[in-house]
């Protein structure tokens, strides 16, 4: 099995033979000298050159994504099959959909359709878990549509606004 693993700004080419006993791994073409155990479905233990690591794996937000957590850190990993055509996420050029980072209730809008937004400017206030949180625009642009009304309850990932 060959995979490209993108994690924290680095990309590694991983070759794994999980059918052999013990499993054999290569990293960027070099033997990884790794004793790799799958302790349970979501826990992997690794001994690499004497160093010991235990990783807890969780599904990520998108297909092909995993969260990797352990005592020394947490990171999201994107796993792709190099045999397949790589599809770069593109989206509609220039248009960005502002989504709800979590379930909550829209308290009020801080900008109106047509307003010019600076990068990082607060667009609306969302209330959840007893806290009022400002949702900010990740880029400069024009607020072209408000997709949820004040007072409305929204699900995580729901589209809140469009920014051009």
């Amino acid at each position: 099995m060959r995979r490209l693993v993108a994690i924290a700004g680095h990309t590694f080419a991983v070759e794994l033979d999980l059918a052999s006993e013990p499993p054999v791994a290569r990293l960027d073409g070099e033997p990884a000298d790794a004793d790799l155990r799958r302790v349970d479905a979501r826990t992997v233990s690794l001994l690499v050159a004497g160093r010991a690591y235990t990783f807890y794996l969780e599904p990520g937000e998108a297909p092909g994504q995993l969260h990797v957590g352990g005592s020394a850190g947490n990171a999201s990993a994107s796993i792709t099959d190099p045999r397949r055509q790589r599809r770069e996420p593109e989206g509609e050029a220039g248009t960005l959909r502002l989504t709800a980072p979590m379930a909550g209730r829209v308290v009020r809008w801080l900008a109106a359709p047509g307003d010019e937004l600076a990068a990082g400017q607060a667009v609306l206030v969302l209330e959840a878990m007893k806290m009022q949180n400002e949702v900010r625009s990740p880029k400069a642009g024009r607020l072209s549509a408000c997709l949820a009304a004040a007072g409305e309850a929204v699900a995580p990932g729901a589209a809140l606004a469009e920014i051009e």
Binding site: F55, A72, A77
Partner: protein, 499 residues
């Protein structure tokens, strides 16, 4: 002593209170909203009563339903915990009317101290210094601007009714005061049912140091020393410690005496906390009194060896305090981290949802007061506090080392938590040196987080590929294969309950 106590709260504090009851041989009664039927405080209960739908106003904030639950179960006393109804004088009043003992201060003392403006006046009358500010809630943005001009910027807006950082805003310029007042008032109304907001001159780079007080019904009032709560984010405490850092000799005693004086002047009974600001010259200013048990009470318990909740219950039952001031001794150092369901990488947005993996730390010097379990769905209706991790050590260095180790062992999967934030703080040399004031955390968060170790990344990449191997749509095998142990599958449990 009581035979049965109703615990009018949820989450970690409901469990902590139930444990104190059990330790005293008293039966605790849990209450729950419809969103909490499978919450840990219900699963661990021996008696539990539903008190209504998920929205707090229809359950945990509903005095009638809480009192009805106490009557229905024959509870002789009621503990409100913190938050919810704990600082609402309507609750002790309703308890009195129903013949139920309220485990907390009398309604009158709660009212006297509950309004921050009234409390400040009382402190002033006891000769305890306060920060210059308005005595009453602000009527308008214009009034706010006028008073702020008088004290000089920066100023601090604060909710008259509450605590916990809700309804607080630091304002540097006159033009920001109007919008900030609106936000603060809205938050205060939503959190405490009272939108009144007042204004204080801001003390810059102050430390937040508070004194734990314990008073009985017989006129005895003592303090249990101080807590340092200077690590805050948006005026919410994040880390608490006891003793406070770099406290000059005699200051604990002077602040303790001031706190006791204020509580005695208010006719205070039960456990309470007097909050102070400490400026760079170690001058202290009275801030407010929290007329309830604090979230951070465990750090005081660990250094004094005393169980505060057990003493709250004893005091409410009319027993005289079994301690004089000179009996209180302090040993070592304690530190608490408040684990929240919030994502430090996404501006600390709340992160409710299913906890799919929970690995908790253990070993010497650790205590965990938790309200969660693996598999539980953290509801979005309530405060995001998941658990409190507390470490004790012979000295601060040992306490910090143990906390660091505990944070390394801890793992919460499925939702985001502020665990990475705590790892970062505990690894920060400035924090380890004790060079901390209330602006510390904002300064830390303005810097880039340290990069992940290269060996860790390479190993994580291998683990991720192995984890994906058996599961991706294009995976080469149905499972990761490997040694016999990995053949054991949680997946098999469901089918295998009957052998």
């Amino acid at each position: 002593m009581f035979r049965k106590i109703l615990i009018a709260n949820r989450g970690e504090i409901a469990l902590r209170l139930a444990r104190a009851c059990r330790d005293l041989g008293i039966a605790p009664v849990a209450v729950f909203s419809e969103a909490d039927r499978e919450a840990l405080h219900v699963l661990r209960a021996t008696e539990a009563v539903g008190i209504g739908p998920a929205p707090p106003r229809e359950s945990y904030l509903n005095v009638e339903r809480v009192i009805a639950a106490a009557r229905q179960t024959g509870a002789e006393a009621l503990h409100p915990g913190y938050g919810f109804l704990s600082e609402n004088p309507a609750l002790p009043a309703a308890c009195a009317a129903a013949g139920i003992v309220f485990i907390g201060p009398p309604a009158a003392a709660m009212e006297r101290l509950g309004s921050k403006t009234a409390a400040r006046a009382l402190a002033r009358s006891c000769g305890v210094p306060v920060v210059p500010g308005t005595v009453n809630g602000l009527k308008s943005a214009d009034e706010a601007r006028a008073r702020a001009a008088e004290f000089g910027y920066p100023v601090m807006l604060k909710a008259a009714a509450g605590g916990g950082g809700k309804g607080m805003r630091l304002v540097h310029r006159a033009e920001d005061l109007g919008p900030a007042l609106e936000l603060a008032a809205a938050e205060a109304l939503s959190a405490f049912g009272d939108g009144a907001v007042y204004l204080e001159k801001a003390v810059l780079r102050p430390r937040h140091v508070e004194i734990q007080v314990l008073a009985d019904q017989h006129g005895n009032c003592i303090h249990l020393g101080e807590r340092e709560c200077s690590v805050q984010r948006r005026h919410q405490k994040v880390i608490e410690e006891s003793p406070a850092l770099r406290l000059p000799a005699g200051l604990r005693e002077r602040m303790g005496a001031a706190a006791v004086a204020v509580c005695q002047a208010a006719g205070y009974v039960n456990a309470g906390t007097v909050e102070f600001l400490l400026d760079a010259e170690n001058r202290f200013y009275f801030l407010e009194v929290n007329t309830r048990l604090q979230v951070e009470h465990p750090v005081t318990e660990l250094v004094t060896g005393l169980d505060l909740v057990q003493r709250q219950i004893a005091v409410a039952a009319g027993e005289p305090l079994d301690l004089r001031q000179e009996d209180v001794t302090w040993r070592g150092h304690a530190i608490e981290c408040r684990l929240y369901a919030e994502d430090p990488e996404q501006n600390f947005f709340p992160s409710p949802g299913r906890i799919t993996r929970l690995v908790t730390p253990a070993g010497p010097g650790l205590r965990e007061d938790s309200g969660i379990y693996e598999g539980w769905n953290v509801p979005l209706e309530y405060d995001p506090l998941l658990s409190k991790l507390i470490a004790w050590g012979e000295d601060r260095a040992q306490a910090l080392a143990r906390m660091r180790r505990a944070l390394a062992e801890y793992h919460i999967g499925g939702i985001r938590s502020n665990l990475p934030l705590f790892r970062r703080i505990l690894d920060d040399p400035e924090f380890a040196a004790g060079d901390v004031d209330t602006s510390y955390l904002a300064r830390l968060l303005a810097t880039a987080p340290p990069a992940l170790d290269g060996n860790w990344l390479r190993a994580a990449a291998l683990a991720a590929a192995a984890g994906a191997g058996g599961n991706g749509a294009n995976g080469s095998a149905a499972s990761a294969g490997g040694p016999p142990a990995s053949a054991w599958r949680r997946a098999a449990w469901r089918e295998e309950i009957l052998g």
